[in-house]
């Protein structure tokens, strides 16, 4: 075996046995970690479920009253409402943590206390806004 082939095979072994960085189970949970994970989870949920519901809604609108009635029936049922309330919350949570990321991108908000405070506030604000939107919907 030539020297380069030896180096290449040693590299492969190295890549397999490379130590992994500690993951979720080893860190102590804190607000910043929680909302960082929530940002990714809500983003994924909005991308998959949210955009699917959006396309179904637009498709039903374009297809006619019968298709729209099917869409309304599913979204009006309890499981449909659970999905819609979940999407509303995911939207506001992703919006709030997204704005938090803008602040962090600018290099601000890393002091432990304010970082934790704004992390918790994103959840409080998203829950309040979700309740507000659904209060408007149910009141009309």
């Amino acid at each position: 075996m030539g020297i380069f082939a030896k180096m290449a095979s040693a590299n492969k072994v190295g890549a397999r046995n490379r130590p992994l960085s500690p993951h979720l189970q080893i860190w102590r949970w804190g607000p910043a970690m929680l909302v960082s994970i929530l940002h990714r989870v809500t983003g994924g949920g909005l991308s998959v479920v949210g955009l699917a519901v959006l396309l179904w809604w637009l498709g039903a609108l374009a297809s006619g009253p019968a298709a729209y009635a099917t869409f309304s029936a599913v979204m009006g049922a309890w499981y449909g409402k659970v999905v819609l309330v979940g999407l509303t919350w995911a939207f506001f949570q992703h919006l709030c943590t997204g704005l938090r990321h803008f602040v962090l991108d600018m290099g601000a908000g890393y002091e432990l206390e304010s970082n934790a405070r704004w992390s918790v506030l994103t959840i409080v604000i998203s829950v309040v806004l979700t309740a507000g939107v659904w209060a408007c919907i149910l009141a009309r």
Partner: protein, 126 residues
Amino acid sequence: MGNGTSIGRVRGLGSAHSGASNWLQERLTGIASLVVSLYLLFSLLMMPSINYLTVRAWLVHPLPATAMVLFVIVNFWHARSGLLVVIEDYVHEAGSAFAARAALNFVAFGGAAFGILTTVRLALGA
């Protein structure tokens, strides 16, 4: 990884020098999505109901139709940028990562095309 060593450069490892564009697109589409989403949310909340005739009558107007087309473009773009990062983080095998990125692009462009077509169709009164 090839940390700037000559063999690493030959193998094409190390920085791709193009990551910043996806990062910036994610931020810009995020801001755009914020504006358009809030406009559409307020419009829908102002409507007496969201039954077929009400929504249709609203969406045929130029401003809501434009907002809806922008909403579709901006959110599929934003979702694509975000999910691209998720794939980079969790799919480590090069072949699977390539397949996942390809699938993401197909779904994002296909979904956006459907969303734009349905809105334009309604706006043009079909």
